[in-house]
Symmetry: C2
Subunit: 175 residues, 2 copies
């Protein structure tokens, strides 16, 4: 794996809505690993920040839900051109945006990022769903507002994407 | 609950992709119950059919993921005007489309439809996620293509919505 410029670690936590580094760093690590091993793309991870709603995601988003010891969702959202190029590299051929293979490729990339990060979250029983893939310029993904959403922006030579982490651990008393 | 016109039961199963009534009828029942008890809206459930991809969903979609004994996702997708009116009835006041309260109301309606149906699916250990709410005209929700997607169209006096059921049970041998 080539050297990846991690321009910052996790953003300082504002007092009112702390960013939990233990929930973020596994995704930073998995993004770097998955995109290099699967599509040979170098990723530059920028400073994570809290998402100020409402803000649109990019054009193509893979959504993975969590349940069990961790609840919420993680969205891997790509600029349209980046999604097309990454899906083509992943599948080995160019694909139309409306082909099932395109959605499968984007969903599988999102699934690998989240599945790999899940192992490092340090929780015993977190379940993740199959990915749903949203295609549509300017779509907005909203979640229940009691869970803060942290955006991890990622630059690559083929375009930008981001990982929107909107999860929290469930206290044992609520299980 | 007033009489609800269920124009048909479950669509006949084409030989190549059977529709499993046990996965569909719980959602028909929960739609009727949730929308009457929560927002006093009568629902007319039309004939379920297989979704032919790629087809856009409506303007506002609540997505709930499944994991465990059932995998996949269920999308409750609303015409924009219907979503606005139903959310207002649910919350007791009009809301802007981009307010957190609007997304929470739509997410909570989707959560109740799916949570209530889950109890009737006859599976021991199915987990559902918190809802993600997608806002954007013409957005397309794609799933992994090995899981068929069944659309349950619903008409109401305030506009149309549909429930897109894209789940399957996991055979014990794969657990």
């Amino acid at each position: 794996m080539p050297a990846t410029v991690l321009k910052s670690n996790v953003a300082p936590a504002p007092a009112e809505q702390p960013i939990d580094a233990r929930l973020i760093l596994p995704f930073v690590k998995s993004v770097r690993m998955v995109f290099w091993t699967m599509v040979r793309v170098q990723t530059t991870v920028l400073r994570p920040h809290l998402k100020t709603e409402p803000a649109p995601s990019y054009d193509v988003s893979g959504i993975i839900g969590f349940s069990g010891d961790v609840v919420g969702s993680v969205v891997v959202s790509f600029q349209g051109a980046a999604a097309r190029k990454l899906a083509a590299r992943f599948a080995g051929s160019e694909m139309e945006l409306n082909s099932p293979d395109f959605a499968d490729a984007i969903g599988e990339l999102a699934n690998m990022v989240v599945g790999s990060a899940k192992k490092d979250l340090g929780v015993a029983a977190a379940h993740i769903t199959l990915p749903s893939v949203i295609i549509g310029a300017g779509h907005v993904v909203r979640r229940l507002s009691d869970v803060p959403c942290i955006v991890i922006p990622v630059q690559t030579p083929v375009g930008d994407f981001c990982v929107e982490v909107n999860i929290r651990t469930v206290p044992p008393s609520l299980k």
